[in-house]
Point group: C2
């Protein structure tokens, strides 16, 4: 396998983009990534998207976007793994470049979630849980997470306030990210007093559904080196693992098995261990998933994820800085685009271009994109050589 | 890149499977393919599906099916390119095995189209045309094909009866395929007299929407050889190309540019030319696409696709046997599963296991899966070494 590097990044602001079509959002991100990479062509396009059919009435986004951005004719396809679609699209592009089948691949994660409201939005969310055994009873990904959080609190004697640190940290970091949806601090007091969304998950606990697009350009590492490509960052590991979709089918509903499996494979491929990682963009669509991810990825003992965060382990000067550009909670959660936003943000950090949020001497960054409350986990480790 | 072979195949009958869930159909095909390959594990699963979200209310089929078939934990993802989803899923699995990232990959194409009727079915179809510029005006893939056929007839002075040979051939071959949806002959007279679906496309011209699942197992060719694996067939080429989704945006609505580009890449990779190909499973969702595919793939001159077929060029003893197990028209068109059915059928032929439909001395077979009236084209060339 050839080594693969990211040679360009692009993103739109995350928010409510009612005046932009989905293809326009993709175009903006791809244009910026191609300019950043100094390329005007690519061999293949991989689109990460989860709700284009249900909300936008459009399938075959690969061909549609390839044409719209001026790359008509190239290989293009859509990759879907619920909210892990962006990470999964990067994985497929990585395999293609690593195999030698093509040299320059563009990955775009793009989503418009705010075009649907009410029952249409809930219908789209319901497709991410097990249709026969969960969705049929009205279980959305968020209500599944709420049940997991309730059990976690019971088992480990925690209270909602213990989870506040994740959201406080995410919002603090989002303030300095011009592409983030929110630029306001929140306090632990506000976190606890916020209206309930799905008890015990409150308004300041869950990430907002949003629109946006993020893109990266991949090339062989050897090409990037021989062309002395500024700011290229090596993809040192790419790994996917899965678990049962239905929570009741998992061996242990309080353990993110797919997250653990994919992160283990990634550590092995990159030949690093948790203490080598300088920052971690994890899938904090709600705080319980952030806490359990810290445990699955080896940063905190089982049941200690919230304590680890509350004791300052996740801040920019903590043991493992999380959500350094705002995470899903502060930047916003643009569905199938989220996994690519995470990668763009890790590249910003490893290039030393993260502005006020820069992690000092960041050299190794990790991103993990979860689909459907952890049924799919995609982990990437990026390294500045 | 490593050479990749298909070491196992499986399929369910194509038809109306109202008593089976989508995951059950996938299980049957995967179980049969794994038994055929003599494996009890795989490293990765690639699901080809186009309408699971809209019709079945289920995304993240990768994780769902991996778990259901007893492969919980493995890498799994869904690949979508409209009706080319099955072929596109095979392409991704091929890249993964070719790269060396994993050894054993399962590809399953699975679809349940007949669970939706009336406006729900039309809504799902509409996602395959350009949502802003075609679907908004009610253009489905079939009505787009009807407009193309009308123009083709005008330009090349053809009449509907000229297209009959494709459907007559497909039904004739389907009779001997126990997994085909239809087992009845049709005549040119019946073809012309059939009720109109989308003028000039009649009932016996368009392939029926159906349910079904087909699966293949991939492994490195070297592994298949060193284990003297019976019936392994080498994937000598794998290629994807695209075109504009909206018909009015294409440079020439009477030319399948994506089909041409992908087939050219495939010929080059496999180092073969059209006359080397012993059989061709093409995307005959309606006869006009079959005719234009023959032209794009270099078997007939521009505008001569129908004449080529009418003169006996496509029969089992013709220049290039088409749809040898019934094609989309006779076997049935199970959406995102179709591209994998095509591959299964080519393998049957190259193994010499095609029964009464066996093409004598078949050694090189080609399959082409089209998405959204030719906006995406996936071509694979298979070789018995």
């Amino acid at each position: 396998m050839r080594d693969v590097s990211i040679i360009g990044i692009g993103q739109t602001p995350v928010g409510e983009h009612w005046d932009y079509a989905l293809r326009h959002l993709a175009l903006e991100a791809i244009r910026d990534a191609a300019n950043d990479a100094h390329i005007d062509h690519a061999d293949a396009l991989f689109v990460g998207n989860m709700a284009g059919a249900q909300i936008g009435g459009q399938t075959n986004l690969g061909a549609l976007i390839a044409d719209f951005v001026g790359l008509r004719g190239i290989e293009a396809v859509t990759v879907e793994a619920s909210s892990a679609s962006g990470g999964a699209a990067l994985r497929q592009a990585y395999l293609g470049v690593a195999s030698g089948a093509f040299d320059f691949a563009i990955v775009v994660g793009v989503e418009k979630l705010t075009d649907a409201i009410g029952s249409a939005a809930v219908s789209a969310q319901l497709t991410a849980t097990d249709s026969d055994y969960e969705a049929a009873h009205g279980v959305t990904p968020l209500s599944a997470a709420a049940m997991i959080m309730r059990r976690y609190m019971h088992e480990y004697d925690a209270v909602p306030q213990d989870f506040a640190a994740f959201s406080v940290n995410a919002h603090l970091n989002a303030i300095n990210n011009p592409n983030a949806m929110y630029h306001n601090k929140i306090t632990p007091e506000a976190f606890v007093k916020a209206p309930m969304i799905a008890d015990p998950i409150g308004l300041f606990d869950a990430a907002p559904a949003a629109d946006g697009a993020a893109a990266v350009v991949l090339a062989p590492t050897e090409w990037a080196r021989s062309h002395r490509h500024d700011g290229s960052i090596r993809l040192a590991a790419s790994a996917v693992a899965t678990d049962a979709v239905a929570i009741h089918d998992r061996h242990d509903p309080l353990w993110l098995r797919a997250a653990e499996l994919s992160v283990r494979k990634a550590y092995q491929q990159a030949e690093v261990s948790p203490q080598d990682v300088n920052l971690f963009e994890l899938h904090d669509s709600c705080t319980i998933l952030a806490a359990m991810t810290l445990e699955a990825a080896g940063f905190a003992q089982r049941g200690m994820g919230v304590t680890f965060a509350a004791r300052g382990g996740i801040g920019r000067d903590g043991t493992i800085p999380l959500s350094t550009m705002g995470g899903l909670k502060g930047r916003g959660d643009a569905g199938g685009a989220t996994g690519v936003y995470q990668i763009v943000e890790v590249v910003q950090q490893l290039r030393g271009c993260a502005g006020a949020n820069q992690i000092a001497q960041a050299r190794i960054g990790m991103a993990q994109n979860l689909g459907a409350t952890g049924a799919t986990a995609v982990t990437h480790i990026l390294v500045r050589d």
